[in-house]
Symmetry: C2
Subunit: 158 residues, 2 copies
């Protein structure tokens, strides 16, 4: 896995310059307590989050997902919360609740309001078909969250 040629994400992928991808890389680095990513390119850091259909099939969904996989899920919802916080000026708190064997729920809380509530399945295979898809899905999630904050503004500011 050391050769750049084996990466799914191309160096020329225009979404590498997307704000959300930048935030994701920042959050992944923040959770990288052992400095594994030192000297790594952005595309190399984000690459494990991009899973082709074939790549997904290769990952077994038996037992509890490992720490590295969990860190990716956390980084994703940290990036969602952080973007909501930047765009609304309100503190957004991510909560990941893994129940068992890769199932769980992800929340983002703003004040007394639940702005993101997502059921997690097969966390072992957490990933997106492309960076473009990741940006699209996170964009929709963030837009929905901002809509809720606008609609129930008093509860969000409580």
């Amino acid at each position: 896995m050391s050769s750049a040629a084996e990466l799914v994400v191309a160096e020329s992928d225009p979404y590498l310059e997307n704000d959300f991808v930048n935030e994701m890389v920042k959050q992944l680095r923040a959770l990288d307590t052992y400095d594994t990513y030192e000297g790594w390119s952005k595309e190399k850091i984000i690459d494990p989050l991009v899973l082709t259909k074939e790549g997904k099939k290769e990952i077994p969904v038996i037992g509890d997902p490992d720490e590295i996989t969990l860190a990716r899920v956390k980084a994703y919802y940290n990036a969602i919360a952080s973007t909501i916080e930047n765009e609304t000026g309100l503190m957004a708190v991510p909560v990941i609740n893994i129940t068992h064997e890769g199932f769980g729920r992800a929340f983002v809380l703003v004040g007394k309001l639940i702005v993101v509530d997502k059921t997690l399945r097969d966390i072992h295979r957490f990933g997106f078909p492309s960076l473009e898809k990741m940006c699209e899905q996170s964009g929709q999630m963030i837009a929905k969250a901002k809509g809720l904050i606008e609609k129930y503004n008093e509860a969000a500011r409580d």
Copy 2:
């Protein structure tokens, strides 16, 4: 620990007839998948939740809390959620998030609203000085939750 004389909760404790205590016993029984409680009296089932100051000190807070302790915390927030649900007619969902070594957060969610948000510390020592205190504290928590549901009713019904 088999003799009734060793229990902290007295058979004559009037709070054994309290609605919340009944709900707690029901929730503890629901989590008792191995039928350990079969044939047990109500006071024997609820007893481990009542901890004197001395009793608390005897429990070490090292490492992760065990399954039985976690089941008690879950039963408590299940009982809180269940009471809120009964009294408001709205679905209430308990979420327990244990982060590490007995720390975490407990939520009760109603619609898009967070009606209970409690920081958990030293879960190893989870308990109340008396059944009366348990009823008092849970009553306050439930009253506060109902206040929020009234205040942000539209979000709670979303």
